[in-house]
């Protein structure tokens, strides 16, 4: 097994771990963390694809690499917005939490 495949599998596992955290953790902040984990798993999949397509004297295909850079920035912007929302909510209610049925809400994924 070469390095690209190994990190690809790592990415796949991280996607799973992140998804699990996103579904089961009711605390919004932890959901945001899980989303970041999920995102980094996806980025590693891009990395695997870039690495195994190495050619023309490059260590990897630069197109997916550039896409990852764009996506990392977008994910950061999303995180910033989500955290600001959580904090405003905490300021308003004294405690950050989406209403209790939220976990079921995301779990709808499981039934589809």
């Amino acid at each position: 097994m070469n390095a690209a495949t190994l990190f690809g599998l790592c990415g796949a596992a991280l996607v799973g771990i992140g998804l699990y955290g996103l579904i089961t953790n009711p605390e919004p902040l932890r959901k945001i963390l899980a989303f970041n984990l999920l995102g980094s798993g996806v980025f590693l999949l891009f990395g695997m694809i870039a690495r195994r397509a190495a050619a023309a004297g490059l260590g990897g295909d630069p197109v997916p690499q550039a896409m990852v850079i764009t996506a990392i920035v977008v994910a950061f912007a999303a995180t910033a917005m989500a955290i600001a929302l959580v904090q405003r909510l905490a300021d308003e209610t004294g405690r950050a939490s989406i209403s209790s049925d939220s976990s079921d809400a995301v779990d709808g994924e499981g039934k589809s």
């Binding site: 991280l14 579904i23 899980a34 695997m48 397509a53 850079i69």
Partner: protein, 313 residues
């Protein structure tokens, strides 16, 4: 098995363990600390994947800036004393099953690459020389897929406006709440005086070198943003009020210049976002330099959060 592959396997194991622990540990604080470590390990993984540009971005933004944001949020939410409600066992089981399914599906795909792996690397290298850039990733970002990069800058601006929109009405136009936490601490002030000159030089270097080596506007901008935040947190400078014209101007300067040069390409080259022959490199460097500033301001303001106090006249 070579030393490199032993290292890779150990690295992957560590990444997975730390990653899982950010989900499983009990307190949000511990999870965030784990996440910062995770970001660092991940950037090593990117180096191992021969994607140094991505490694820099991951370390600067994915690990550093995101970690900073999360840490700030944990510090404010005092969520340690919240007794966590966990979801029920059946839900966790179902979620686990679903996730295992996804992982299995992705693993199958990873293990079965197409017979002929498609790649755009040769095409990129073939078309790179006219732009004068040496870094193929920068070439993709600023030449071949410039539209994505331009839109992504707009995304960042929108996210910033989204964060600002969460301010109470009375605080609109005021200063972000960041310096509320600034406790003038001698060692911190020392650092905030010593580091920024070095950091600013380094940030500019990162942006400059991005044309031919790994680096670029985002990585450089992140370093500049970090320096600015350090100065603000140490209490040496106030965070600016968000209604300041210079702040707004800096925020849009990069995207505006990018768009203007893109539109000029219509007249002077043959298409929107095309560069006239021979002028590609100076134009791209100008765009990158301005973008670095805009990104630095945008990232710092994103981290500083929505305005909390009305502007004092």
């Amino acid at each position: 098995m070579s030393i490199a592959s032993v290292f890779d396997i150990a690295l992957v194991a560590l990444i997975l363990a730390i990653g899982a622990s950010t989900i499983l540990v009990r307190t949000a604080f511990a999870a965030v600390v784990m996440f910062a470590v995770y970001g660092l390990l991940l950037s090593i993984a990117w180096v191992r994947l021969h994607a140094v540009d991505v490694a820099l971005t991951e370390a600067a933004i994915g690990g550093g800036m995101t970690g900073l944001l999360l840490l700030g949020a944990v510090a404010r939410s005092r969520s340690d004393d919240v007794d966590r409600v966990r979801v029920g066992y059946p839900v966790r089981l179902a979620a686990g099953g679903l996730c295992a399914l996804v992982v299995a599906g992705l693993a199958i795909v990873v293990l079965h690459p197409p017979a002929a792996v498609p790649t755009l690397a040769p095409v990129v290298m073939e078309n790179l020389p006219p732009s004068g850039l040496g870094n193929p990733v920068a070439g993709v970002l600023f030449v071949f897929r410039a539209l994505d990069t331009l839109l992504e800058k707009v995304v960042v601006l929108l996210a910033l406006l989204g964060v600002w929109s969460l301010a109470p009405d009375r605080a609109w136009g005021g200063t972000p709440g960041l310096q509320v936490y600034a406790k003038p601490d001698p060692p911190l002030i020392f650092l905030a005086q010593l580091l920024p000159p070095v950091g600013i030089v380094f940030g500019i270097y990162m942006c400059w070198v991005g044309a031919k080596d790994p680096g670029g506007a985002f990585q450089g901008g992140t370093v500049l943003a970090a320096m600015w935040l350090l100065v603000i947190v140490a209490g040496l400078q106030k965070a600016p009020a968000i209604s300041r014209l210079w702040l707004r101007g800096l925020l849009i300067a990069g995207p505006m210049l990018f768009l203007a040069i893109g539109l000029a390409g219509w007249v002077f080259a043959d298409a929107f976002l095309a560069y006239p022959e021979g002028y590609a490199k100076p134009l791209i460097v100008a765009v990158e330099a301005t973008l670095t500033l805009s990104i630095a301001v945008a990232l710092a303001m994103l981290a500083a959060g929505p305005p909390e106090r009305a502007q004092q006249q």
